[in-house]
């Protein structure tokens, strides 16, 4: 064969041409794969599946028009198995929206809820029309509210690829896309959007985080909440968005360009720029339930396409509610498993997403009847999928049905977990509870009791997250104050382990304010010195408050957004957090790949050792509130002639009295330097690595009440860089 023959012009395919006309449009039998709507030469290929439907109709709308301009029943020969596929020619992709009508049995008692009167959204829709403006209520009488659209997907990534940051090096920052820049003080061009977040990348870089975990960005309907704030009369929304309408569709109103249908481009551009700054992107994904609610909720897509397949149903055909949101996605049905996999592959491949955090992930372990499975096929599939191989997978390892799997989530040596037990014991310790130091020690070294086989990277450590108090509020309120949520303060968790430091809520008392400031620093310093993956809640680094609301899912308001004036007002705290993140970055001993053993394999000290007011003598008794920990490693293996000893000493004193603490004696050539002391006034509360002052007394360290001190061992006269 000659080279010219190889380079001959491409032949058109026969199936690039229509075979027949339906409803005035030229069509042909489509290709079943891939599912969803796909641009093909001359037209658009539509593929949708339903194992229980008897007939399917493609419904086409002009952009935004209430009535369809064409309805195209799928002829029997366009169906393969449970898949209906049709290519429609001559469609302007920017000018139409589409949906389906599915006919089939309407027998709810056995789980079928087909209703061909409804126009259904494509589960694979990569854009949803009709929700481009935040908080503008859709017309719920419109027969088709959440409208499937097709984006132009070509995007110039300029060589970008996921970052593959090792778990042990990650510092996660949990952020709400809208809340992060919606406040007028943000100073960005398009507040509350992906583009706005992009303009804050320099702030994130300066802070030192290298991963943002975005709260839900899959299309949702914030207007589904019909509540009103009884204290202000303000309309409540589903501001957080843990209620997915479109699993493949980025939230349009989070895009400054959503009204022009460019949310796909805008989010991809954000990811590209975050990657350039060395920051990974993890998406908080909600596969445990959908926005369709229970049998009284709206029919958007799944219920009408194949209710029995997508949802866990009781024997009577009602919805199991392990999510607390009305329905439960039937994650371990083989079809649903494929859907979840397709979805995550799309985000990883097309949006270069670096990882996923699974909301109420324990539901991913449940069989169709709700029973927890030892080897849940979905979780296993995700763990071993080639497209997702380099993605971080994080489970919120519990659900609203009482399944609590922290430390027991079937992780296939691959999954990490939100370590709820880390959060709980750290909070209890800091507020002064008894019986905490033993468990605290285990948590500080990466919870080997829970993740012994998986390593510290399996433990995502956190003190606060979107769900619950902010860090400032954790030390300002004994109880939740959720009256504004309109449920008589009954919503939200009652088990907060919080402490108001003497006065409930706002106060002018300097001693109370000082203690709160110190407690916030204590929590942050312990978190950033713990083995595992630290996660910060956005705003905690500047003392953001939700005024005691520990369930602010519905509060889209200035006092719930990130107020950027806090960056100035709480500059000392921000500086402290930056220094603590930098401390973690320069000390590999804080970012271990494996749990420490307590053995002395090389160098001068064991890899971890425990201390109390006397060196080498920890007090593990139930009444103890003081614990010191020394992390040590000698990367060269112990060559006495060289090598950099990496040694960090941390003492936490949750007692209301101060204690002098005896320090472990260092070998010749090393001396203790003060890296952080939460009781010291700023800027002496934290030092940038390399600038830590030499401790005057190398043997005894006074530790103030309710404070945390971190020391680093290094030669007493460092080179000045």
């Amino acid at each position: 064969m000659s080279e010219q023959a190889v380079q001959a012009p491409a032949l058109d395919r026969i199936d690039d041409y229509p075979t027949q006309v339906i409803a005035g449009l030229s069509v042909r039998m489509g290709r079943p794969m891939p599912f969803g709507a796909t641009r093909v030469p001359g037209g658009v290929n539509f593929s949708v599946y339903s194992n229980r439907a008897s007939a399917m109709t493609l419904v086409l709308f002009r952009l935004g028009e209430q009535e369809p301009f064409a309805e195209l029943p799928f002829p029997p020969e366009f169906r393969i198995g449970g898949v209906f596929a049709m290519t429609v020619f001559g469609l302007d992709v920017e000018a139409f929206e589409y949906g389906y009508r599915a006919a089939g049995p309407a027998t709810p008692e056995v789980g079928d809820r087909f209703n061909p009167e409804r126009v259904l959204s494509d589960p694979y829709a990569r854009m949803i029309g009709g929700r481009a403006e935040w908080a503008v209520q859709p017309d719920y009488f419109n027969p088709y509210v959440y409208r499937s659209r097709l984006p132009l997907e070509d995007f110039d990534w300029e060589g970008d690829r996921p970052l593959r940051t090792p778990l042990r090096d990650m510092v996660i920052y949990e952020v709400h896309v809208r809340g992060f820049t919606r406040h007028p003080s943000s100073g960005v061009d398009a507040p509350g959007t992906y583009a706005g977040l992009l303009q804050k990348i320099p702030y994130l870089v300066e802070l030192g985080v290298n991963c943002v975990e975005l709260m839900p960005v899959f299309e949702f309907d914030e207007c589904e909440n019909v509540g009103v704030d009884p204290t202000t009369g303000r309309r409540l929304l589903n501001y957080w968005g843990y209620s997915t309408v479109g699993f493949f569709a980025p939230k349009a109103s989070y895009a400054a360009t959503g009204r022009y249908g460019m949310q796909v481009d805008e989010l991809k551009n954000l990811v590209k720029h975050l990657h350039r700054a060395g920051i990974e992107v993890v998406l908080d994904v909600v596969f445990n339930h959908t926005a369709e609610g229970n049998e009284l909720g709206p029919t958007i897509s799944f219920r009408g396409l194949d209710n029995r397949t997508y949802y866990m149903l009781t024997p009577e055909g009602y919805y199991y509610n392990f999510s607390g949101a009305g329905n439960t996605v039937n994650c371990n049905d083989p079809v649903v498993r494929g859907f979840v996999l397709d979805c995550l592959r799309y985000w990883a491949a097309d949006f270069h997403i670096d990882g996923f955090r699974f909301d109420l992930a324990a539901i991913l372990d449940r069989a169709p009847d709700g029973t927890p499975l030892a080897n849940p096929p979905l979780v296993e599939s995700l763990a071993h999928d080639p497209v997702l191989r380099d993605c971080t997978l994080i489970a919120e390892a519990w659900d609203a049905g009482g399944l609590y799997q922290v430390g027991r989530f079937p992780g296939y040596f691959r999954w990490s977990e939100w370590n709820g037990r880390y959060r709980d014991v750290l909070r209890r310790h800091l507020k002064g509870d008894l019986d905490t130091v033993g468990e605290l020690a285990t948590r500080l070294v990466g919870s080997p009791d829970l993740y012994g086989a998986r390593g510290p990277g399996a433990s995502v450590n956190f003190v606060t997250a979107h769900d619950g108090f902010t860090l400032r509020d954790l030390f300002s309120y004994d109880g939740k104050h959720n009256e504004a949520n309109g449920e008589g303060n009954r919503d939200g968790d009652d088990n907060n382990n919080s402490w108001n430091c003497g006065v409930e809520g706002p106060t002018d008392q300097p001693d109370v304010l000082a203690l709160r400031a110190r407690q916030q620093r204590n929590a942050l310093l312990l978190l950033l010195c713990s083995s595992g993956v630290p996660m910060l809640l956005a705003g905690d680094e500047v003392g953001r408050s939700q005024h005691g609301n520990n369930n602010a899912y519905c509060q889209d308001a200035a006092d719930n957004w990130f107020d950027w004036s806090l960056v100035e007002r709480n500059a000392h705290l921000l500086r402290f957090v930056r220094a603590a993140i930098a401390l973690r970055r320069v000390h590999p001993v804080l970012r271990r790949r494996e749990h420490p053993t307590g053995r002395q394999d090389r160098g001068f000290f064991p890899d971890v050792s425990w201390h109390g007011v006397r060196a080498w003598q920890p007090d593990w008794s139930g009444g103890s509130r003081l614990l010191a920990m020394m992390f040590y490693d000698r990367p060269d293996g112990g060559d006495p002639a060289g090598g950099d000893d990496d040694c960090v000493y941390l003492v936490t004193n949750a007692h209301w009295e101060g204690h002098p603490v005896e320090l472990p004696a260092l070998p010749p050539g090393l001396a203790w330097h003060r890296a952080a002391d939460t009781a010291a006034p700023a800027p002496a509360d934290a030092y940038w690595p390399g600038s830590e002052p030499l401790l005057e007394d190398q043997r005894a360290l006074p530790v103030a009440p309710r404070s945390t001190v971190v020391l680093v061992a290094r030669p007493p006269q460092p080179e000045i860089s």
Partner: protein, 114 residues
């Protein structure tokens, strides 16, 4: 979409008037690709562009790439604020040389050639 072309010193100025969307994109693309291969500086004047869709932005980027590939210096001039904002939010603007007016664009392109 109406496309007008005229010479300005060493440069070709192409005026895009009206809406550039998926309906007008194919014809605009054909015309612009032809103009973008001359090697002479090319200014795309968007002063009279009333709407630029996702498809329109892709045409601009394609033309821009082809022009650069053929050694034709290109700049966008006269971006209406709305189009500017959309291009900024989606990152398209990062790819282009931008100038306020045809004169500024000439300065940039001819200056870049020196």
């Amino acid at each position: 979409m109406h496309i007008a072309e005229y010479s300005r010193g060493p440069a070709t100025v192409v005026e895009l008037a009206g809406e550039l969307d998926s309906l007008t994109a194919p014809a605009a693309r054909e015309e612009l690709v032809r103009l973008a291969s001359s090697g002479d500086p090319l200014l795309l004047d968007l002063t009279k562009t009333t709407y630029m869709s996702s498809a329109g932005l892709r045409v601009l980027l394609l033309v821009y790439r082809q022009a650069i590939g053929s050694g034709t210096p290109v700049a966008l001039v006269g971006l209406p604020q709305l189009i500017h904002d959309v291009m900024a939010a989606t990152g398209f603007i990062d790819f282009f040389t931008i100038a306020d007016t045809v004169e500024d664009g000439l300065d940039v392109l001819v200056g870049a050639q020196l």
